[in-house]
Structure formats: C-alpha cells, structure tokens
Amino acid sequence: MKKLFGINWIKTLVSLILTFVIIQLLISFNIINSYLQSTLAAICINIILAVSLNLITGFTGQFSLGHAGFMSIGAYVCALITLRMPTIPGFILGVLAGAITAAIIGVIVGLPTLRLRGDYLAIATLGMAEIIRIIFLNMDSITNGAAGLSDIPQFTNWAWLFFYTAGTIIIISNFIKSSHGRACISIREDEIAAEAMGVNSTRYKVTAFTIGAFFAGIAGALYASTFNFIDPKIFGFSKSIDILVIVVLGGLGSISGSIVAAILLGIITTYLQAFANIQMILYSLSLIIIMIFRPQGLMGSKELSLSIFSRLGESFKPKKGRV
C-alpha cells in the first residue's frame, strides 16, 4: 500500500490526466471530428481487448483463439439491458452485467478446456467462441438472430471510453505485478517447474482466463454502446484473429506493446480506408513482413512507458553517487 501513493503512482496519474485532457480538448475544438472519434473508440476497445488477451496469451501463456466470444457476450448483455433501460445507470449496469456474464462463461469454459495445452487449447477456445456465436444466432426471440440488434442507445463518449480503458490497463498491469501475476508468468515459463514450486497452475490459468473474459465483456459492451448495432457476424473467428494479431504485433507479454499496436493499427486502418480494395492486401502483407523480420513483435516483452518515465524521473532526481 505504501507504493500506491509513491512517485510512480503520481506519475501515472499525471500522465493519465494529461492524455485525457489533451484528447478531450482536441475533441472539443473539433480537431478530432466525429469520424476520427469512432476510430478513437475502436482503438480504445481494441486496447481493452488486446490487453486482456495479453494477460491470457502473453503472460499466462495460454493460447486462446476465442476472445471474440467473450466480447460478444458483453455486447449482447449490455445491448439487451440498455435497450430496456436507456439511462446512464442502465448503461453502467449493462457494462457490469456484460462483464460479469462473460467472466462466468469464462470460468465455465476455462475449467474443462484449460487442461489442454498449446494448439489444442487454441482450437477448443475457437470452438467455444463459435458455439457462443451460433447460440446468439439461434436465439431469435431474444437476440433477433442474424439480423442483429440495432438502435442500441449510445452512452459512450471519450470520458467513458477513457475510464474503462485506463481502468483495464491499471488493473491488469497491477495484477501482473502482484504475486498472482507472477504465478501466471511462472506458468508461462515452465508449467511443470511452477507446479513443483507450489503454484496451483489450474487455478491461476482459470483466474487469468476469467479476468481476460471479464474485460473482453467490458470491451464488447462498449462496442455495442458505441456503434449502436451488433450482430453475431461481427464476433466471428476473424475478430478473435484481429485481437490476437494486435497482441502478437505489440509483443507477447508487453502491455504497452498491445497499446501501441492497437493505436498503430487503428490509425493505419483509418488512413487505408481510402484504398478500401487493397487495404486488406496491404494489411496482410505487412503482417507477414513484420512476423518474418520481427517475430517477437514490436516491443518484444519489454514495457515502453515505465522505462521512459523512470528515465525522465532519473534526470529530475538529485544525483546519487553510483558505483
């Protein structure tokens, strides 16, 4: 608890407030117009998704190809609640209920499947996500089937998005620094060795999976509220792949990497809209080239923000004699 109010905490707080205020000003002066605002929202949602998947895949080493499934649960629960309660408390309730439902499904899915390793787990999670999507597709009376839910009340604005995105990043990076997070990392490094040291690997894997699912649910809820429309097709296999691409591109095990990759990809896709017909070709080519020349991702497993801030902090501190 001492550390909570230390210099690092103040630095984090200041940089968060600065980010928020600068973007808020850009929005109020209409430099970020409504088109760019939807890009901004997409980036925030992708950051939440990527950071939460990074906890599962990058830090705990459990290869999940079903993140879009949890996202869809959050999206549908939040949409159904806000359609009946189109108020701010309804929105808050919707996001929370979406996230909690996703987390519960995460436990249910995680308990049996997390015994599997590597590619088998990837395929099992892929299958789970597809089953979730097919269930939504077939619950016509509630989810309106393939036509999807439209006219979802829009409550998200920059403040909400920022609140949830920053909250996700802070909670997950603190989790990783805690003893539970260290246990997760030890499972990634060597599961058998971790077990031998007394780490209950199943418990930590399910914990990481559940936390990941919870935040994916939040991201889904924000998606529904931002873009007013959801249908099962949005949350298909390719969405899970998109999230995984952000995580691997940023670097497995690097939260700032996920953030940087989400922002970069968001900006790139916005500017490639002009070349819609070759957008995906360029995207796939750059994916191949980046993986061939930098397979560890942009950041590897290093973190960006901390080192820069501590270096900045170093220059302000009175110099102590170094050995």
Partner: protein
Amino acid sequence: MEQLFQQIINGISLGSIYALIALGYTMVYGIIKLINFAHSDIYMLGAFIGYFSMTTLKLGFVPSLLLSMVFCTITGVVIEKVAYKPLRHATRIAVLITAIGVSLFIEYTTMAIAGANVRSYPPLTGILTKSFLLGNINVSMQQVIILGITIILMILLQFIVKKTRIGKAMRAVSLDSDAAELMGINVNTTISFTFALGSALAGAAGILVGIYYNSINPLMGMLPGIKAFVAAVFGGIGIIPGAMIGGYFIGIVEVLVSGYSNSLYRDGVVFAILILVLIIKPTGLLGKNSREKV
C-alpha cells in the same frame, strides 16, 4: 430409413471434401506443428482455378482437376518457401500469425482480381449430369465421382507416404526433425514436399466442391477450413487415417443435423463434438500411440 440413407450418401460426399482438406492440415501439422490457416485458401484457389479452366480455357473436368492440383501445389510450395521457411526457428505463435497473414493475403488478392461476388460453376456436361437410383436412394454421378476421386487420391497418398523414399523421409522428419537431419535427410525439401502434397489435395477438394455445390467465392475457404481442421483434430492430428475418418464423420454429422434438425445448429454441433473429443481424449480418436504423424 430411406431418408437416413439418402442423408448419409450426401454426408459422404461432403465428408470426402472435408477429408481431402483435413489431410493437408494434418500432414503439415505433423511435420512442422503449424496450424496452416492458409490451407483453406489453397482450397478456395483450387475452386477458382477449376472455374477459370472450365470457363475461360474451356477444358473438360479431368484436365481442369489436374490443372488446379498443379497450380495449388506450386502455390503451396511458394507459400512455404517465402513465408514459413524464414520462421523455422521462430516461436510457433509468430508462424501462426504469418499463416493468418498469408491466408488474408490470398483471400483479398483473389477478391481484387476476381471480384467479391459469388460465381457459379458452368453447367456440367456428359456423364456428370446423370444420376441413378440405388434402391430408393438417389445417387448423382457427381457424388460417385467425388467419392471415387477422393479414394484414388487417398490410396495414392498412402502409397507415397508408406512406400516411397520421400514418404519415409516425411515420416522421419515428423518423428524427429533433428535426428532426421543428422541421418542425411534434407528437411527443407521434405517439408516443401509435404506442403505440395497437402496443397494438391486441397486443390482437388476445391474443384470437387465447385461441381458439387456449384457456387464459389473468395471467402468460401474459411468455414470449411476450420471444420476440416476440426476433422483432423477429431481423428488425431498428425495421423493420416485419422484425418480421413474425421472428415467423413464431420461430413455425415453435419448433413444429419441439418437434415433432421435446424440447419443453423449444424456448425454448433460440429464444434461441440470437437470440444467433447478434446476434453475426453485430447489426442483425438486414433491417439498418438501410433507413431505415424505425417
């Protein structure tokens, strides 16, 4: 009862196609432990090459089949050389993302060249249009040809893997690539050959699906690709007979579910079976005890 047999006949045709695709997945996974997501797009390319050779070049069915198999073989080997070979020692997730990149590249390049719209195969001629009654069950000539070609290709594949030198090399590399290299086997050539075999089968599956379902589009590979992979996992990934059994099983289950219940649930049932298999016997039906992984 008649309806059941009719459905099973239809399921066998669909299953043949899944089995052909699944073979490519299982061989590549057996040899380099990669879920080759681009494989389903090779299958799509096979369908498109067949389409162009039947319409633009006005070739018959058999020359078109051979042409698309040759084209897919070349594409498969080129993909392996360009995209996967530089990553031989990278982490598996990096190779997987590359495979996804290749898959998207093929899909959207085809879309840019051929257009995103659905095309229908040219009407069949000659013997392909016929159908006959087996008891009270209607069997079309297409179904006979699909099953026949699949069986011929599978026998050929078994022959290559079991009886030839390169097949022996494939089995050796999949068992232990380092040891195989020390024994003087050229691992890179063997991996390329595996890609070539798998891609040829996928190309054949593509053109067969074209004549059977009559409609093709650049994104047609995605779902059959995943289901064929499910089939490979179901039978035990890395095991060739497993992929065949898995393919037929998935095909028949899918047709039965859409025949007797809501067809929207058929994919759900396939994935539910997958998860059950993975939880009960993660190594698949035929397990890993039989050491043939190619």
